[in-house]
Structure formats: structure tokens, C-alpha cells
């Protein structure tokens, strides 16, 4: 009884390690694969459209509301200390450093990551990937690589757009509704935000998140069980794993960046 429990536990650990190793090999083979640029360009731009452009609406809508709510909450608290002129600084720093990359990543995992997994998983289940292999078309560069790179590239673009939309949303609430002076709003923000230390580090974070999310999504799709339950499980796993990884990596990256790395 106990022995069988221990055996089961060991098998879970074994499978876990094996999946991680498998995903590492998978990632390296996707990255190393370097087909002719002219061949992939069309596939790549199509994926950029589907992964990046179609995520734009949800990202910018959420950015607008998040900027507005941060401005509203911040104003109410800062007002108690008579420091409402620092609203711009509060808004810009919290959006550019944390909220921008992290919330964009979470939305991206839900909007684009799950779609990638489901699509590739269905290709696996309907044996389209095997067919490609039979026709001597490598599915790794025909299907996986364009999706992977589209995810990695569109994530920082989405995060930058999120940042700017959130800041203008917050400016709308803070300056136009709550009556913070426009000049102090912007000049305090500009005095507090550093381009390299704050803006660029946020963008670096979003590149890392994009990399991890699309890696998880593409891997889960490619190695999903080839049936409908398997696809649904893989999609769930993509969203859960990539959200958890995003939050955990955010902590690690913030610690590294604060440490002056």
C-alpha cells in the first residue's frame, strides 16, 4: 500500500522532470531551426496579426480602465497626505514597472496563449502535423516557429501600448475629472520616471514573459494528447502554467532589477 503510493509519487516526479526536459529540447529545436526568411515571412506576418493585432483591443481596453482606477484610488489616498500632485509619479511608476508587463502578460496568456495551444493541439489530434512530416515539411518551422516568434515579438509591443494607454487613461481621470494640475502631473512624472531604469526594464520583463508564455503554449499544444479531452486539458494547463510562471518570474526579475543588475 505504502510502497505503491511512493511508486506513484515517484512516477509523478519522474514525468514532471521528463516533461521539463522535453520542453527544453523542444524550445532549442524551435530556436535553432532557421529556415529561409522569404519562406517564413508570410506565415510569420499572419501569426503576428493573429497573436498581436487581435489582442490589441482587450489589452488597450483593460489598460484604459486600469489606468483610470489607479488614478482614482491613488488620488483618494494621496489626498489624505496632501500629496495629490504626486499622482503622475504614482501612476507612471506602478504602470510602467509592474502593471504594464504583468497584466499584459496575463491577458496575453488568456487571449493568445490558449488559442495557440488549442490550434496546435487540434492539428495534432487531426494528424495534420503527422501529414506534414510525411510530406517532408517540417512542422516545427512551418507551424511552431512562426507562432513562437510572433508571440515573443508582439508581447513587448503590446506592453508598450498598454503602458501608454494606461497613463493617458489615468491622466484623463486625474487631470480632467479630479482636477490635478496638468503641468505638475507631467513634470512630477518626468522627474520620477527614468527611461532606462523603469521603462526599459518593464519592456525587458515583457519580452521575458512573452518568451515564456508562447513557449508554454506551443509546447502544450504540440505535446497534447490527441483527443478532445486532451486539447481542453492542454489549454487549461497553458493558461495556468503561464500565469503562474509570469507572476513568479516577475518577482525574480524585479528582485534582480532592484538589485541593480
Amino acid at each position: 500500500m505504502i510502497v505503491s503510493r511512493v511508486t506513484a509519487l515517484g512516477r509523478v516526479g519522474w514525468e514532471f522532470c521528463q516533461r521539463i526536459g522535453q520542453s527544453g529540447f523542444f524550445l532549442s529545436s524551435v530556436i535553432i531551426r532557421r529556415p529561409k526568411f522569404s519562406q517564413v515571412f508570410e506565415l510569420f506576418s499572419e501569426q503576428l496579426y493573429r497573436v498581436g493585432v487581435l489582442s490589441l483591443v482587450i489589452v488597450m481596453m483593460s489598460a484604459m480602465f486600469i489606468g483610470m482606477v489607479v488614478a482614482l484610488q491613488g488620488y483618494n489616498t494621496l489626498q489624505k497626505f496632501g500629496a495629490e500632485q504626486e499622482l503622475g509619479q504614482l501612476l507612471a511608476l506602478s504602470v510602467v514597472r509592474e502593471l504594464g508587463p504583468v497584466i499584459t502578460a496575463l491577458l496575453f496568456a488568456g487571449r493568445a496563449g490558449s488559442a495557440l495551444t488549442a490550434e496546435i493541439g487540434l492539428m495534432r489530434a487531426t494528424q495534420q502535423l503527422d501529414c506534414m512530416d510525411m510530406m517532408a515539411v517540417d512542422p516545427l518551422w512551418r507551424v511552431i516557429a512562426p507562432r513562437f516568434w510572433a508571440g515573443v515579438i508582439s508581447m513587448p509591443i503590446l506592453a508598450a501600448l498598454f503602458n501608454i494607454t494606461a497613463i493617458f487613461g489615468g491622466q484623463l481621470v486625474g487631470v480632467h475629472w479630479l482636477g490635478v494640475d496638468s503641468g505638475t502631473f507631467w513634470s512630477n512624472m518626468q522627474a520620477a520616471v527614468e527611461f532606462r531604469g523603469d521603462v526599459l526594464n518593464g519592456i525587458i520583463k515583457s519580452v521575458v514573459f512573452g518568451f515564456v508564455i508562447t513557449w508554454v503554449a506551443v509546447y502544450q499544444g504540440y505535446f497534447s494528447e490527441p483527443n478532445s479531452a486532451g486539447i481542453s486539458r492542454a489549454t487549461t494547463k497553458t493558461v495556468v502554467y503561464s500565469s503562474l510562471l509570469t507572476l513568479a518570474l516577475d518577482f525574480v526579475l524585479t528582485a534582480m532589477m532592484m538589485g541593480g543588475w
Binding site: E42, S45, E46, L48, Y49, G52, V53, L56, F81, G82, A83, Q85, E86, A92, V96, S154, P156, I157, L158, A160, L161, N163, I164, I167, G183, W186, S187, N188, M189, Q190, A191, A192, V193, E194, F195, D198, V199, I203
Partner: protein, 162 residues
């Protein structure tokens, strides 16, 4: 959707991302002031600059006229040398203007407030503001307060003894 339209939209998307980054650089983190031609530099020596930081505003009567460019320590007399970059349209600051370091609000950051003097001669680029008042350090103030309270108390007790 036609391939050309899609590629056009993707190009637009990437350009929008680039534009957002540029906007973040100039509007949010204020990189515009770097290497601007129509500014000039003046310096001022302070005994204590408190929490003054590079890029803090320099203002006259609360109106921003420039920013702090550099903060250094003079090795010879151990005073802080603050270099300020002032916009060229304010090139008529009187020679005997004074500079002080104030705090915006209670929790705010420090800034330099310039009070114009009365000399007809104006400050040239590279010249120094002679009259300066250092930042008020809260700990010093509290220390002085406690000290004066103590000495007051001592006086009272000595008075009683008498």
C-alpha cells in the same frame, strides 16, 4: 482577409508599438531635456542639499525654469556643487539672485527655488549663484528643538534651585 491588408495592419501594429515606446521615452520619462540647445548652465554651492536629485526642477516662484543637471562635491571646501540647466528664455536672472532648496508638500521631492535679486547685471552661462540656503533637514530641526527645550528645562530647574 487579403494578404496585403493583413501585412499592412501588422506593419501599423509594429509602428504603433514603436510610437508608444517613443512616447514613453519623451512624455513619461522626460528624455527631451537631454542635449537641448537652447539652455545654459549655472552653478550654486550648498552646505547641504538634503534629498535633492539630478533632474529635480529649478523654479522661480513655483514656475519651472530648468532642472538640476549634476550634483558633485567640491574636494577643497566640502560643499555640494549643484549644476543647473536653465532654459534660455530666462537669461535675465539678476546677478545677486539667491537659491534655496525646498520640498514640494510634506512628502514631496526637493527642488531648487531661485529668488531673483535686484542687480541690473544678469547671470551669464557658467557663473555661480553666490547666495544659497541649504535644505532644511528634519532631523536637525528636531535636534535643535529638543536641545532648546532641554536648555529651557535646565533653566527652569536652576531657577528653582535659586
Amino acid at each position: 482577409m487579403a494578404k496585403r491588408t493583413m501585412e499592412f495592419i501588422v506593419g501599423l501594429f509594429m509602428l504603433a508599438g514603436l510610437a508608444a515606446l517613443v512616447l514613453l521615452a519623451f512624455k513619461v520619462s522626460g528624455l527631451t531635456k537631454v542635449g537641448n540647445g537652447d539652455t545654459y548652465i549655472i552653478t550654486a554651492e550648498f552646505d547641504n542639499i538634503g534629498g535633492l536629485k539630478v533632474r529635480a526642477p529649478v523654479a522661480i516662484g513655483g514656475v519651472r525654469i530648468g532642472q538640476v543637471e549634476n550634483i558633485a562635491l567640491d574636494k577643497n571646501n566640502f560643499r555640494a556643487v549643484v549644476t543647473m540647466r536653465i532654459e534660455n528664455k530666462f537669461n535675465n536672472l539678476p546677478d545677486d539672485s539667491s537659491a534655496s532648496i525646498f520640498t514640494q508638500g510634506i512628502l514631496g521631492s526637493n527642488y531648487i527655488s531661485v529668488v531673483p535679486g535686484f542687480e541690473p547685471e544678469s547671470l551669464k552661462a557658467g557663473e555661480a549663484i553666490e547666495t544659497t540656503h541649504s535644505a532644511l533637514i528634519l532631523e536637525n530641526l528636531i535636534g535643535q528643538l529638543i536641545y532648546s527645550m532641554k536648555s529651557d528645562g535646565n533653566q527652569v530647574t536652576t531657577d528653582k534651585k535659586k
